[in-house]
Amino acid sequence: MSYRADKKVLRYLNKGGKVKTIDYYNHESFGQCDLAAPDFWSVAKVGTPAPKFTLSSLDGAKVSLAHFIGKKHVLLEFGSIT
């Protein structure tokens, strides 16, 4: 297989030579996510400012990291069901 990555999608040639486009972020199958995995240790390093975010809570409220700066220590655990 050969791969060509761009910002949103990843195209690959399958064995039959057909071009297939997949969303590498929301991959349909485990294994596809390996195609464009960033280096965890090269981003958001210890000692640097935490990347800013504004996310939705389950009741629809917006929660920003900026809101807690100067007030609270913040712990984030990333997760999914599967």
Binding site: K8, D23, Y25, N26, H27, E28, S29, F30, G31, C33, D34, A37, P38, D39, F40, W41, V43, A44, K45, V46, G47, T48, P49, A50, P51, F53, L55, S56, S57, L58, V63, L65, F68, I69, G70, K71, K72, H73, V74, L75, L76, E77, F78, G79, S80, I81, T82
Partner: protein
């Protein structure tokens, strides 16, 4: 999810001591028949609510956008943990939840708060690196994959050459 029950314990212990804990719901690592990959934010929000029920999550849950902007900014691994000091600096990151190590880090920040309150001079910031070992419980792993569906198990087998809940002996056998 990394380790929900120990994290719940830490949350209860530290939320009154100047900490905010959040679970950031991101893409499904092992999409299957029951929990397919996300195609819209509403579906992702719905999955996040199901995660809260299934894993009995007590911590506040935040939902990343469907493109995974925050997940990408923090490194894209499925079970990362970050601790961000009050001023916004990352003081700890890990590729898995090790609750004991995390508790040590929370205590470290409490000591920092105390040093600041007592105006203890700080020479400089020190930095540590370490390895840690993640125990594997085949029964727990099998339960997680089965709740996603047979597809998730098949995909893992295709990608890795052994079942996701294989023991080391079973993996060696599959590889031989």
């Amino acid at each position: 999810m990394g380790e929900v029950p120990p994290l719940t314990g830490l949350y209860q212990k530290y939320c009154a001591k100047g900490f905010e804990f959040f679970i950031v719901y991101v893409r499904e690592a092992h999409p299957g028949e029951n929990f397919p990959h996300h195609t819209s934010f509403d579906q992702k929000l719905d999955h996040a609510k199901k995660m809260r029920e299934l894993d009995q999550v007590r911590l506040p849950v935040l939902v990343d956008d469907v493109e995974g902007s925050t997940h990408k900014a923090y490194g894209l691994l499925p079970n990362m943990v970050y601790l961000i000091e009050r001023k916004g600096t990352i003081v700890y990151k890990s590729d898995w939840t090790d609750a004991r190590e995390l508790e040590g880090m929370c205590e470290s920040l409490i000591r920092l708060d105390e040093m600041k309150a007592r105006e203890v001079p700080i020479i400089r910031q020190g930095i540590s690196e370490r390895l840690h070992w993640i125990p594997m419980d085949p029964k727990h792993r099998e339960r997680i994959y089965r709740r996603s569906g047979e597809k998730a198990i098949r995909d893992y087998l295709n990608a890795r050459g052994h079942l996701p809940y294989a023991t080391d002996a079973e993996k060696a056998k599959a590889g031989s």
